[in-house]
Symmetry: D3
């Protein structure tokens, strides 16, 4: 089974970290392919960048030249999953939803710890649309940007663990979600500090994608995620194909 | 006052129709500029096309060379408004929200009549995020595609009015929203058939945009819609600038 | 166009202040008529007074001797708007809903700063019924009564700004609504202290009323707001007509 | 124990019917006093009449010359209960809420059968505010006006039973509420036709009022229902006292 | 009228205290029978114990040898009420729902003060299912276990009153519910400390049960609470009959 | 990895069918152990039987003599999962939640097709508590009892497929959940008739349980699912151990 794990930003080192995290939990027979978008921002921390990422992820998947069995969109709180579901016949799993869905099997309420305060409403919006907000105790910001989280793991752990402890004690969370692709890998350290299960979205999404494939299930095509109707589209995919990248 | 009214698809005749509808309600001192995206689909009827439109609208607005006072995003149920709000200092009004917001001043419940069944969940999602779903009695599809609505106004009126009547009688709607940019202009005819107020999103959005400008109000910049952080972005805007359009 | 802006209490100076605020944003061709109820309380700070105001506003509008195009009910969180909608064919705009509806175009979440703590549940109830509560971050009380707000503008600004800052920082509001008719006019000063858009309900309502008139839209009469059925009513309007006032 | 059961309209025969229904379930030591408002409509079937009733009920209770232990507001879906709670120290029970609260002890979902279609949104609004809407399967109209229900009991039973059967079979209601003061007394006959428990609001409210008195519980005065602040009120109660009635 | 008041744990002294509390509010003609389960935990403070109690209460009621008119399940936040409703033709009232339902007649929002923090989510779950959560301001834990509450009434009063004051001041509760069977009897003392109405679930439930009987209302049998279908059941009731209890 | 798949009724043939379904999707290295409760009903179709099953499942798991890595509770819409989570350190997955959680990755809305109409409210309750109801389009009953579904697979397929088609066409479901343990195995046949993905709860739960084990995640023990406090429990487990099951 081959799963594409697609980063939402253009930072290669993050793609590598995400793919490593995915491989660490994937079944031995699963091949993990990490993809970096050909355009977009070096980190996604807002709506403009997130919409750009939505298209960039679709572009990256469309241009992957080999067959694959499932796609994981590895940006926490980002746009675009619905578009991918229209374009593809294989299952698409967004890490925002995968993490929440997984956390809900582990405790009565969960909290998300993300990067910056400005990302909080985006995550709230994604969870609301996904119908997964009811059991969300809180979404808290560590105060560190996406790239800072990657560059300074010790500061990241301190900042995340501090917010996680507040989520457990004040907001009554029983499970913590690491709400940023760049946090993959900090799970164990944060878990030691908080005493509650810590869910990483990439890891959760990979196992869900594997399960869907194993169960022979994929996106329903009867309505919302039916393939785009045949029509004239300018700038896509030809446009990106011809001009993007290099 | 200058308001950009941005179509979400690449069909020029629709842009003209939308702009005409906008001008019909705008104050005499308001200049309406209709913009057609440089890339995207000829009509938006799904998530992929909608995400493409999100970016195309941002691109169109970014490349408009003159100052302006507000932007109306003239696609019903489409993505992207949040991104525009980050990029701009002037108010941004989405017609989906403008229409619902307006309808709620006119009756206890409203219904939306849109193009195809597959657009219904997208509209539901937008209204849910906007916090405007509680008083929505139903979202019904006319069964005609966006371009069919434009090309066959008589059939469009029949199909829309038929669903509107059902919405009023069965779903208990008291106000009907024309849930597609391509329906602008059918308002009077549908109103005669149903006996309830008919809200057109473009018209509603233009008056709201004018009002916000007049009130000296614009998008809050403290959190969700703060300008994007300075960072390296590839493919935007340079990429689109250099290669798109021709 | 003539718009009646109806105060909910019997304090003339407040009617004048509200009308001035309305005129400051109205189009030049709009005539603003401020009306003071013939009976009721000198300020509305609870349910009894609010129900009295509901009737007093209907009475005031019914006895206005000239034609008019729209009505603004200028009490924040008060009862009665639904009754006016039944009695009139022209649009009726309540400032509670106008402010919330406007704020939602400007930020992800809004907060309301009102007069006394006891008014908070009334406002919450109005917003819940209006279907506008989802994006309300909080409703906070300044601790000053309605008349105190009017008499001591400096203390009012301090008290309101203090709560507004808490709303932005703690409750994550991105827009602030001045939740009391008596606060009209403090907008600019409070805005300077908080850095977020400040919405005044009277100003918002006037532009919405103008827009509805311009769009040719008025209250749906098919169900909730159909005219009262012909029946014997004692004490209204004859009763009020004959005995009230002086 | 003395309980005031206050009709919301000015039709004496309805007051008598309501009081009889109340007496039929009251404890032997409970004295039921039926009150008819001194002003208002002969039946309440809309918002204007309901707001008038709100004040008329407060007026009627304020002018009752003897002590009493509780008040039942006997109009289904009407305004005003919150105002009475401010004015009084004894418990106030609205029949809309009493019926729903009682029905929820008897089945998983309940439906309300009311008079006219136009009353449905008012009832929905009351139940939403009361926080009792979640388990409401539907609110259905019998199509008969309030006075028709009183004058033509056989037709009323047929019309109500027909809707009740639909509520049970289609909407999955397990309990039916008679959603109109004028329906008191039809309970047994409708029950035979439907096979589910039928709740009458007046009967339910009387037992709840008795219980609250017996438990020594009354309205909380710390916030929402604190007594009106001392202030100048014109037209109330002097105004009504001096001029109303006869 | 005979009402069974069933404790959820095996501690006889608590059964006696609960029954005394019930008798204190019951009508003179009502006979209160306190039942202690034949198996289960000495106190219920979690889901396992609560599920055990669910069955133990059904067992206790099934083995009560005399006729009865209603059942009160006297455990706050416990499972099982739905099962009893299936097995019995008489009304069943759970104290969790009885207390919330009663509190909602007394103030705009209520809070629950329970025993341990771990009981909070169970209570939240019961109120959510019952459709009574909307007006719940908070559920707070006193920090004392069920048996501690019984053994140390002074400490209990202090701990409960402290949380009740916070609920009123910070969470804006206007009514307090004593959320634990073991708190029956502390009502008056806590009330003095807080100035708001205090609702005890057992007392509330007894008056509701009496009212339902008096109104001739009992559980609807058309769907959710229809009697169990005839089928082979092992271990119940024979099993418990033969082997339980000693 | 060893996963206990616990039937909720005492019918051995159903346990075998469920275990077979589990094995069909389990990883090769996963050992599936099917457990049949030692007491309870031959099928669960109501609250009494469901509460009995809750305890019977806990009993069955507690008496399983070997180590295991996860538990699947294989009854659709049944009580008890929370109790198991308290008693165990390994993950517990309920098929009701597993199926909904899985369906939500495949389409915008899902419907559940269950056995009898009376089971619908139980399932609705479980999904509401789980926070998974928002995207549920409907819960429909096939009209066949649990054992009938098992005994007459052809009739079962017809009845289920008929309701599934209605769910897709009328309720706008895009995914169908087989809402009864006894339906495991009909997935492929029903899928052919409807054209949408069909989710079987047992299969979904097994893959989720495997994933949680692989991710090193288990139930949070900080609050809701902390182990029961040390206390005297009569009748459990000693009681069941000594006397139950022959």
């Amino acid at each position: 089974m081959r799963i594409l794990v697609v980063n939402v930003n253009t930072t290669d080192s993050m793609t590598r970290a995400i793919a490593a995290q995915a491989r660490a939990v994937a079944a031995v027979e699963t091949e993990i392919i990490g993809l970096t978008p050909r355009f977009g921002a070096e980190s996604c921390e807002g709506n403009f960048e997130s919409y750009l990422a939505a298209l960039a992820v679709m572009d990256a998947v469309q241009h992957y030249p080999h067959p694959f069995d499932a796609v994981v969109q590895a940006g926490y709180g980002e746009h675009g999953r619905e578009g991918l579901q229209e374009l593809l016949d294989v299952p698409v799993v967004d890490i925002t939803e995968a993490a929440a869905s997984t956390a809900m099997f582990l405790g009565h309420k969960y909290s998300v710890i993300t990067s910056l305060d400005r990302a909080v409403p985006l995550i709230e919006d994604r969870l609301r649309l996904a119908g997964l907000l009811q059991r969300c105790a809180s979404i808290r910001a560590s105060g560190l940007g996406v790239l800072e989280l990657e560059e300074h793991p010790e500061r990241a752990i301190d900042a995340i663990a501090a917010q996680a402890v507040l989520a457990v004690e004040q907001d009554k969370a029983e499970v913590i979600i690491l709400g940023c692709g760049g946090m993959s890998g900090l799970r164990e350290r944060v878990s030691q500090r908080t005493g509650v299960p810590i869910v990483d979205g990439v890891a959760a999404a990979v196992t869900i994608a594997e399960s869907l494939v194993r169960l022979g299930l994929t996106t329903s095509k009867v309505r919302t995620y039916a393939p785009p109707r045949p029509k004239q589209v300018s700038g896509w995919p030809t446009f990106f194909t011809d001009h993007a990248g290099k």
